[in-house]
């Protein structure tokens, strides 16, 4: 998959995926299915964001909640305090989340932070923002912010779950196009070169600093969109939801479990993990903890038996199948 130079196949797959999920959204009658689709797509969006920076850029962030929370707070504050329409707030949320990404990236890449140091600095920034959000007045401190209910497509609040599904599907579609662009553009080639060997990339004239900066900006933008989407769906945000480690973990786990540096890995990872979480919750919901124990064990098993992610299994199977059929 990595070797394909023509973007046509990727684009075709993206179109098929969007149409298929769009059909589900249009024809599904069950609220459970719609709700699952919405939450799984929302997980996809976060995993895609993490994959841009972690998968294609090789920079592992533990603090993606930083961008998520910023997007969420901007989306809420823009409506509550600046009186903006949510459709105008959304690009603002995305832009400011990207700006926070650029700021953190500029600081940490300028000083050459790599590997676990970069991971820890992002985690620390998320914590700083969480504590600040708890302390300053315009975030509503510990009480959080509540966006009033004003149903209507013009207010990005849909009476029908379908509206939200289409909204998040559109965002995921943008993420897919962004990833496809990254896979076939010069910028993406630079980014992957920096990931594979930064010194070598620099030696052939790649500006590693600027390339990584671009990646964290794009990643922050997508994560900010996820945060804004969260606020529109749940109409509430507080410092723990916004900047707590939970969203950072969800984004990185789905991306790594699915398969890093691939177009479909984050999508597959997010869907499988959401299925798993829903299944265990329904089976063992009465016993607190059991569903999360199973989630944790499966996570370890996936890593143990498929070090290249779920997509890695698919690729090995396909290769095996090709070899078998070639023999006949």
């Amino acid at each position: 998959m990595k070797g394909t130079l023509s973007p046509r196949r990727d684009l075709l797959q993206v179109v098929i995926f969007l149409l298929a999920v769009g059909m589900v959204a249009a024809f599904a009658k069950s609220g459970v299915v719609l709700n699952f689709t919405m939450m799984a797509l929302y997980g996809c969006l976060m995993a895609q964001s993490w994959n841009l920076l972690g998968g294609y850029g090789g920079q592992f962030s533990f603090g993606h909640a930083l961008f998520f929370g910023t997007g969420a707070y901007v989306q809420a504050i823009a409506q509550l305090q600046w009186g903006l329409n949510p459709w105008i707030a959304l690009p603002l949320a995305v832009g400011i989340a990207a700006a926070v990404g650029l700021f953190v990236g500029a600081l940490s890449f300028r000083y050459g932070l790599k590997g676990s140091y970069f991971a820890l600095v992002t985690l620390a920034f998320a914590e700083v923002f969480r504590i600040l959000a708890l302390s300053v007045p315009f975030t509503g401190a510990g009480v959080g912010l509540m966006v009033p209910l004003r149903e209507g497509a013009a207010n990005m609040q849909f009476a029908d779950r379908r509206g939200y599904v289409l909204l998040v599907l559109g965002l995921v579609g943008m993420g897919l196009l962004l990833t496809t662009w990254l896979r076939h553009s010069r910028f993406g080639a630079w980014l992957q070169a920096v990931r594979d060997n930064e010194d070598a990339a620099r030696a052939i004239g790649v500006n590693a600093f600027r390339v990584k900066l671009g990646a964290i900006g794009l990643s922050g933008a997508l994560m900010g969109a996820a945060g804004a989407f969260y606020v529109q769906v749940f109409q509430y945000i507080d410092p723990g939801i916004a900047y707590g480690p939970h969203t950072s973990v969800e984004a990185l786990v789905a991306a790594i479990v699915g398969g890093l540096g691939t177009l479909w890995g984050p999508i597959l990872g997010a869907i499988v993990l959401h299925l798993l979480a829903d299944l265990t919750r329904n089976l063992f919901g009465a016993l607190p903890g059991i569903n999360m124990i199973i989630y944790g064990v499966v996570l370890i098993l996936i890593v143990m038996f498929s070090p290249r992610g779920l997509l890695g299994i698919g690729q090995s199977v396909r290769r095996l199948w090709k070899r078998e059929s070639g023999r006949e």
């Binding site: 700083v128 504590i131 790594i256 989630y295 890593v303």
Partner: protein, 290 residues
């Protein structure tokens, strides 16, 4: 605000809190600072150790300080087995996989505790729980004073192990050059597992010193994870003395930050200090090289 009568107790209080942080961070210094295993399960392991001390006290009436020996032994064996059987096997030597596996472990441990012990916060009663010593204008709780001594002892023990034993030599060799260590006949997997075991054994000791003045619930470890990583980096990767000083410093920063900016904002100081150290002095205060 700068009066001695207020500052002195705050600093003393920060130092004793810092000693607890240092105790928790010392084990991580070996695991993360020397062997570069990003152990997200560190907080969950501490939580399990605290439950161990709690039940030894409640079921067998064993004093937490007498539980030191069995706790260190059990945590060591558990850590050795965990690294050898789960983390090493699942990680395939890739950093991102180690991260996922320890994350998975922490989720499992935390929820096993939730399932088995419910989410109640538990404390123990000892004859010395409420005892205090007066130092000038300040009062210190006796358990905190003991924890301070425990941190010094644990740091000394770890330094002695790494510096003067054959195992310590092997650990340093593996940390510097894994391939080379293997070539001269060091069992690298064994050394990793021993280090992980010693790291968790330190947590066993930390739990014994911590519980008389603290509490335990399934989430208790979470608050320590980022602070412990902060201390390891602040002190300098792999420096035990650094972790000790770093822990004390963090405790004082938190205490003074709380005094000046209020309880919730006080913690910001820790993380701002951490970010500043990462950016401007990534080798840490005591780190030998960048």
């Amino acid at each position: 605000m700068f009066a001695f009568g207020i500052l002195f107790p705050a600093i003393l209080n920060g130092l004793t809190t810092g000693a607890v942080y240092a105790l928790v961070a010392l084990g991580l210094t070996l695991i993360y600072g020397v062997l570069h295993i990003i152990n997200f399960a560190h907080g969950a392991a501490l939580m399990m150790a605290l439950y161990g001390v709690y039940f030894l006290k409640q079921a067998l009436g064993l004093d937490p300080y007498l539980a030191l020996l069995p706790m260190v032994a059990v945590m060591f064996v558990g850590g050795y087995a965990l690294q050898r059987l789960v983390i090493n096997r699942a990680s395939h030597g890739k950093d991102e996989n180690i991260l996922l596996v320890t994350l998975g472990l922490s989720i499992v441990l935390e929820n096993v505790a939730l399932l088995a012990f419910k989410s109640d916060t538990r404390t123990i009663e000892t004859p010395y729980t409420l005892a205090t010593v007066t130092v000038g204008p300040a009062m210190i709780a006796v358990p905190k004073l003991v924890a301070f001594g425990g941190a010094l002892l644990a740091a000394a023990a770890l330094i002695a192990i790494v510096r003067f034993t054959d195992l310590g030599r092997a650990i340093r060799a593996v940390a510097r050059e894994k391939q080379g260590a293997r070539l001269v006949g060091i069992d690298v997997d064994h050394v990793y597992a021993m280090s992980f075991g010693i790291g968790l054994a330190t947590l066993g000791a930390a739990a014994c010193f911590l519980l008389p003045a603290y509490y335990v619930n399934p989430q208790v470890g979470n608050g320590f994870v980022l602070v412990a990583f902060t201390i390891v980096v602040l002190g300098g990767m792999g420096s035990f003395a650094g972790a000790l000083v770093g822990g004390l410093l963090i405790g004082v920063v938190e205490s003074l930050g709380g005094l000046w900016f209020g309880e919730s904002l006080g913690q910001v100081g820790i993380f701002l200090l951490f970010i500043a150290v990462l950016l401007f002095r990534p080798q840490g205060l005591f780190g030998a090289k960048a």
